[in-house]
Amino acid sequence: MSSFDARRVRADTPALARIINGQRITYLDSGATSLPPRAVIEAMSRYYELRHANVHRSVFQTASEATATYEGARESVAHFINAPGGAGEVVFTKNTTESFNLLAKSWGEANLSEGDVVLLSEMEHHANIVPWFMLRERTGIEVRFIPVTDDFRLDLSSVDELMEDVKLVSVTAMSNVLGTINPVKELAATAHAHGALIAVDGAQSVAHDVTDVADLDIDFFAFSAHKMLGPTGIGVFWTRAEILDAMPPFLGGGGMIADVRLDGYSCAGGPTRFEAGTPPIAEAAGLGAAVRYLEGLGMANVAEHERALTGDALTRLGLEFEDRVRVIGPADTTHRGGVISLDVEGVHPHDVAQVLDQFGVCVRPGHHCAKPLMRRFSLPATVRASYGPYSLVRDTDVLIEGLRHAIEMFA
């Protein structure tokens, strides 16, 4: 673990000092959104206090600085995910969801037609389902799903059948409900062997382990800053330069054009073609700071830390509650991240979360924007606890105490 110290991360994170119902907050909702360190919050404040200006197209000092901040964040992100073509492959969107809409509407509409198949999985987030359903309505493509096994893994037993007519595989690197980490590199090889491309939803994975899009040999990658200690309001869409260059525009407006006449327009090249209007400049400053902060921690250290926490929690939940609390996800930490969905016998997830709130514990009840997966396991909802780099074993202690109370209350 070298120099990584979760207590230091905790001390860097102002929101963890919050008192809820008389108790220090126990934040176990990093899968929904993460708590930014002071460095990220201050990067944005400083930006507004010192150098706020609209980017591009101006010569004055603060406008150059704002542009350097914005483009610098692109460089940082490219480095963080090891984009082979560098910053020119990094498009800033508003969130993962917009990244998938961009993929479906720009690349999808240009490259897919009736009879083509997009292969998703049953454990996808709605962000990687609904845009494809919308595309299906317009183009008649088929949307197919890789099933999920009873032990919460992708069922790849008949992958060759599944791959028939597939032009794009689009799967999550890590399930936001199960914690399952999918074999993205293998899927990429399979997709390419079948002449298909592969898009990966990195929303859950990117803040919790090393990302190397070049090594994974994938074609598209999407994630949100707010799940990686960064701000709301900015996300990333990455694809290889040669794909990006061939993609038609998505949203139209200022910044993305080369020329506009009364009778038509032509588009700019590079990532800016997909960044119509004033972009999230302060948010890019925050995202850049988040990337630097995470790189300072070391993503391998973060992964190891969270794996330890997850393993400990899985063991203790089993010992403490036996069958009263069922973990909806892999039972150990093999190819599994720090997202733990629970089904508490006889207590509705909403009520579990409500009782936990009285202990200052933040967990999320619901379908987690993965309704097909919930149906697959016949659950209306789960209670989900999820870890971040600032999480400690103490958080699990409070979680278990709260669960005990909830079970007693509704017994």
Partner: protein, 155 residues
Amino acid sequence: MENLDNLYREIILDHYRSPRNRGELPSPPAIRTEGFNPLCGDEIVVYLDVEEGVLANIKLTGHGCSISQASSSLMSSAVKGKTIEQVRDVITTFKQLMTVHESTLQPSGEPVKVDLRAIGELAALAGVVKFPVRIKCAMLAWNTLSQGLDELGSA
């Protein structure tokens, strides 16, 4: 934990554990209405038998949290056997009960006083208003009932 005990009163837990009027009614003649809370996945189906302006029978199925389940059970007890007009009054009163404190979030609304003694067991749900996100759980059955009555009116 005081707040929590205020939310999960014994009556609520009782109605959650042993819901009243659970089941289905043949439809038709009963009116069948579905309610759905997309945010938390709660679902409810209300069956209404109306005879000569009186809600002769009501049955409920569905699933959801203790608040939504208890609220629907309490509702069914409160409205069964009442005239449609009386049922509408109870609905109005209950909606007022659920908005009294919401007004602290939305400063535009005028707080309305509800006479807790007049609503019997339903008063047990008064604690919900301190938990604004749970209000919609408590309201689900009631909104579904309203909708059922509207369908009745337009049928």
